[in-house]
Symmetry: C2
Subunit: 271 residues, 2 copies
Amino acid sequence: MTFALNAAVSGDTRLFAIVGDPIAQARSPLVFNEIFQRMGVNAVLVPMQIPAASLATAIAGLKTIGNLDGIVVTVPHKISMTGLVDRLLPIARKVGAINCMRRVESGEWVGEMYDGEGFTRGLRKQGHEPRGMSVFQAGAGGAGKALAHALSRAGVKALQLIDVDRAKQDALIAELAHAYPDANVSAGSASPADVDMVVNATPCGMAAGDPLPFDIARLDRRVLVADIIMKPERTQLLCQAEERGHRIHLGRHLLENQAEIVAEFFGIAHG
Amino acid sequence: MTFALNAAVSGDTRLFAIVGDPIAQARSPLVFNEIFQRMGVNAVLVPMQIPAASLATAIAGLKTIGNLDGIVVTVPHKISMTGLVDRLLPIARKVGAINCMRRVESGEWVGEMYDGEGFTRGLRKQGHEPRGMSVFQAGAGGAGKALAHALSRAGVKALQLIDVDRAKQDALIAELAHAYPDANVSAGSASPADVDMVVNATPCGMAAGDPLPFDIARLDRRVLVADIIMKPERTQLLCQAEERGHRIHLGRHLLENQAEIVAEFFGIAHG
């Protein structure tokens, strides 16, 4: 009964929330509350299940709560929430989505997008500096977009993108080319080769019988194989890559590092 | 660092809140979270500081949160909140105030007032059955009103009321006479006698130099002396009463029992 330990929330506890729908699966409460605990901060992050249709009403209400200092934003609200903050910070403006918002001293709520930053910080912490890498990425949806933006900002040498939805793929390539004029972004093939890292940013691999999101047969053994799926921790892609002798990079590094970055954004220094 | 223990709030934790302004002093989070812990319920009650001016906006927002099951209402919102629930339950209708609200199966939010019930249940638990008692009460404000209603419902034989604000006193006497036609309610004197219990429902006694809220010189030693002030636990009234040989009844019994009753209202059976 680990959930019993919340008896320590008191009247002067500061409040944070994660809003999404559904929300029961969200790991952020455990991750953030562990950070608050480690840092000795009297704060709690609670889950709030808010349907898309009531998001505007809900956020108008939440903004009036004096001791609510910040909100983590998850599916399906990352894009629509951009219209409900008072100001977008630079990455959010480029990506067109936010994953967190907080009240600043003026009383305004500002939003920013750190999903991709969680991935690149996670890579660096595991010893894989993205700067100068040639990267292949599958997936141009919400998560893929955040990743591709972060990889572009991190200074990858080249970025090849694929998505089963060709229109989405081409739109993201055009968007990145516009946002980062120096970036070298192009359409990839379903069987990548000649890259330093491949990453899966599609949902393919969450379900047991899923096919691989792309073929890894042509990859040199030195290529890093990354996935952003958290459950299972070792997707079919990662298992096969490991068997073939590749180094792999797990999805949980993204969440852990994204939470750390958002905690910093919330004003919780980390140690 | 007891506040560190909230690391166990997870994505599927059910949410409760206490709304008030200020809120940092509220003891309900500790009391309720202890109840949730004892009952093995995966729920947390968090403080929300909401200014009176934004109450309607805040509540409209909170009602949209799917995993928010109930709200404890405290000062200054107990009266204004009656206009923000979908339906008032019987005591709330009589008292004209609520101290808690919850979502029922239809999706409606219903409000009820259990402040007074906390006092009468507390009395009973300490072996003091209010039915048939002659009671003197000082204070006809929000708390006094809830107490007088609960004592009337509990079937006291007679209820004498005083308040420094004579208009408030007379209004409450008239209100009780109307709500409980069988009740025997009258104006008291500042030096009560010939009663079974005296209770202080004024704020007088919270500050160190406060005078007694009423004189206890004429009271028989068998009279029970009660206070609803929680800090200090032993008010000047209770100290002097104890010295004179009276049995006393502490303010914390009200909060503890009110929390238990509200937890039942929230659907958390207690053991």
